[in-house]
Amino acid sequence: MPGPTRNPAERFPPTPCLYLRRHVTLPESTLLVLDPGPRHAERALVARVLEGDRIASRELYDAHVNRVFRLAFRLCGDEDHARELVQESFIRIFSQLSRFRGDAALSTWVHRVTLSVVANARRRDKKHDREIDFDATDPIADEAVRDADPDLKEGLHAAISALPEIYRITFVMHDIEGYTHPEIAAATGVAVGTSKGRLFIARGQLRKMLEPFRKE
């Protein structure tokens, strides 16, 4: 009996290309979400990786490694640690790629995995026995803000580190790395409005923490 066989490429049927890029001028980061052209290409790439194409695996890595590394480094601040996070992220991405359904952009899914790996690493760093309290300001970093060098920039860095984790991630992704709110929302698994709200709170907290420096 001929067994039912399915080509992995069938999971990602071709979608009509609208080529928004030709008609509308939008920021590059927005096009990552909206433009179906790259989406079609990345679906084909995913299908090739799932078929066992090693070259495609490397292409996928090359396409995302820079952004993933930048985000990991921004969030952890240590090169060796960032390298480990990137490696762990991609190992997880390749081993779980069959779960990627193509509903969202591949970059969104890749960033979601990266943020998950970063969060797990932070949990491990906190000696396994303490869940991250996303709303609590890190007391050590808070002291660092007060004790920071009078230089405003040093104070700012300490203040960003002192932000609660969810606000820090949103601030870093939006104001520093230039991600759009839809991208952040998709990567962190929240609504776009929530992402905007978090950014507003993050900026407000930074202003508050840097008030002493402002007066000087």
Binding site: M1, P2, G3, P4, R6, E10, R11, L50, E51, G52, D53, R54, I55, S57, R58, E59, Y61, D62, V65, N66, F69, R70, F73, R74, L75, C76, G77, E79, A82, R83, V86, Q87, F90, I91, F94, S95, L97, S98, R101, L152, K153, L156, H157, I160, F171, V172, D175, I176, R203, L206, R207, L210, R214
Partner: protein
């Protein structure tokens, strides 16, 4: 410093926060390859757009059992294989289409098994036909899917009961029940995370085994026998 001025400064100055160096792309790839693709030939350097695929690289395949539909397919193949082995050898195939062969086989047996000729069996087969027909409908919604899975569970129990019955010893009837068992078992496993591919595979299984025509023929024969 005014508010607006301060906000502008904030955005610019924040960019120096944990400013990343250039990533060691190759070094990280080597580590990923060692961990993920251990034992395979490494893929050297960044892939250029004009790169010609190297056919000698052994393909990396995720374990087949990682895929849900592959597990279902394996169960189907094993089940059908066992069913075929357990059937007695039949006459060599002719040019008659398989659907007709299946229908003739059922008709020839007259389905005169005591257990299969009862009103309960007719009811069971009628419900099974209705369920499988609704399975083929493309306008199902989530609520109907739930009912479908629940109904398939009940029918699966009945099918197994009939299979276990010592009166069900006609090989054609037994073959039909075994095929029904497999199809119903697949439907029972449908969940919210089921893909269109899973449903498509059930349809293919039903078509390949001529489940619906054989079932309809069995019902028709039972009614004509009454």
């Amino acid at each position: 410093m005014q508010d607006e001025e301060f906000d502008n400064w904030l955005r610019n100055a924040a960019r120096t926060y944990n400013e990343p160096p250039a990533p060691d792309v190759e070094g990280m790839w080597v580590a990923i390859e060692n961990e993920q693709f251990a034992g395979s030939t490494p893929v050297p350097t960044r892939v250029a757009a004009s790169f010609t695929p190297i056919t000698s690289i052994p393909p990396l395949r995720a374990p087949w059992y990682n895929s849900g539909w592959m597990r279902v397919a394996a169960a189907l193949v094993i089940g059908v294989g066992l069913g075929r082995v357990s059937l007695p050898p039949t006459a060599p195939a002719t040019s008659v289409p398989p659907t007709v062969v299946a229908a003739q086989a059922i008709a020839g047996s007259s389905v005169l098994q005591p257990v299969m000729n009862s009103p309960e069996a007719n009811k069971y087969m009628g419900e099974t036909i209705a369920l499988l027909a609704s399975m083929q409908s493309e306008t199902r919604n989530a609520a109907q899917d739930k009912e479908l899975v629940s109904g398939a569970g009940d029918l699966l129990n009945t099918t197994r009961f009939l299979l276990d019955s010592p009166n069900t010893n006609n090989p054609n009837v037994r073959g039909l029940l075994e095929d029904l068992e497999l199809v119903l078992a697949q439907i029972v496993q449908l969940s919210n995370k089921t893909t269109a591919g899973d449903v498509e595979m059930i349809h293919r299984a039903m078509e390949q085994r001529d489940v619906m025509p054989r079932l309809r023929t069995a019902v028709a024969n039972n009614y004509s026998a009454e």
